[in-house]
Symmetry: C2
């Protein structure tokens, strides 16, 4: 009898553990249950995504998350469903601050910041020995500076496309990208047209980002990205004359 009592106590413990398991099962999202989370092991699992679906998601997301978080959301929200972790544990909405070139300061275009976050988190940082994620982010920046933005026209645009002119930023900076467009469109920062232009730029970046990630997944991606600092002797964009005019300073060399 004593033995049986002990067994029963163990049985109850066992049932308790099972019940706890079921409770945790209810708390954790389905994909998270069976998966070990290790967000610092690269590459993150990736499955090919549809560029158009991604662009539409980015366009719609812009209107509540703005440029940076919208790009991240357009890719990661799909991978949360198709893959699970580590996407489920990544705080997408926390990157809303990328808006307006980081809190309205006009530095890097938020959609580019979002794209760099996505390429570097999926493919991995260069300390893994593979610089592809960083160079893909750099390639998207170069592509952005030369594109007649916005490229993507959403299925159900909130503003008529004929009210959205196209401009080439020649810079990855929000201030210059938005400023050149505002000058051509003659529209204010808070106008529906400027807002829709930036939602479409965000969608354009998301579209191209997924095109490149899909190529990478297929093993066909050959990067055109560079570290501009290696070429210029200073961290830099390519549009030196825009600010410096003809008097572009020569950075001090190694021999100085």
């Amino acid at each position: 009898m004593a033995k049986i009592d002990v067994s029963r106590r163990q049985l109850f413990k066992g049932v308790g553990a099972l019940a706890l398991g079921l409770t945790l099962g209810k708390i954790l999202p389905p994909k998270a249950q069976a998966q070990k989370i290790n967000a610092s092991r690269w590459p993150w699992p990736y499955v090919k995504l549809d560029p158009k679906t991604t662009a539409e998601l980015a366009y719609e997301s812009w209107y509540h998350l703005y440029c940076g978080a919208a790009v991240i959301n357009s890719v990661f929200s799909q991978l949360r469903k198709k893959v699970g972790q580590p996407y489920l544990s990544f705080p997408i909405k926390g990157f809303m601050f990328a808006e307006g070139g980081v809190a309205g300061w006009g530095t890097i275009c938020g959609s580019l910041l979002g794209a760099n976050i996505v390429t570097n988190l999926i493919i991995g940082p260069r300390l893994t020995g593979n610089p592809t994620g960083t160079l893909m982010g750099s390639e998207i920046m170069q592509w952005y500076t030369e594109a007649k933005m916005p490229l993507y026209v959403p299925k159900n645009p909130k503003v008529s496309p004929d009210k959205i002119p196209h401009t080439v930023s020649n810079s990855p900076l929000c201030h210059i990208s938005v400023g050149k467009w505002m000058k051509k469109a003659h529209k204010a920062l808070h106008s529906p047209e400027r807002r829709d232009r930036c939602a479409r730029v965000t969608a354009s970046v998301a579209y191209h980002l997924v095109e490149l990630l899909n190529l990478w997944k297929e093993g066909k991606y050959e990067t055109e990205g560079e570290f501009p600092s290696g070429e210029f002797g200073i961290t830099a964009q390519y549009n030196c004359e825009d600010c410096h005019g003809e008097n572009v300073p020569e950075p001090p060399g190694e021999e100085d």
Copy 2:
């Protein structure tokens, strides 16, 4: 007997579940076991940190993670130990790409990008109804532009302090911050002096970041941060004349 058999089968199932629990216990890091991970619920748990310890961590981290990831690491690596989740699941090293103003493009100083990530992830994005995290990030950017950088002198500097002059960037951009310093120091981008200068800037930002977060934790933080876009009618820095000279353009207004 039949009943006892059933009980024994359940017992074995129960023991199996217990054994599984122990196995998971070995896989997951200690703090993660008891904690539900929800990285999208704000604020993230925060305990006050020592600014000097944080600055030293940032300085040392710079030499393998560079500016952006070093700032994140200086704060989150401590909170991984003191708090656990969601810091354990955050891919700190994935943000190495912030180096050189995002992959060497000279846009936002990586240490500022790191600081914005930390304030917005701990306090939360403004869609929570609380803009404090975003405004604290903006305040750190304003403070940075006016500071005689680098402010922080590490305990064991890799380069003698007398070889590191101080400059005021008047900009949150890496290109301008580094460029003004290189001009004054007459040192190349890859010189030990420039590298140590940036490691110290990173430490300086981490120090101030934790000062502000500690104030916030105490309920004493009153932000000096703003959205510059609200003031200028365009996403912008405060140093208009640096690029525009005296002909600062007037952005189109709402009435245009």
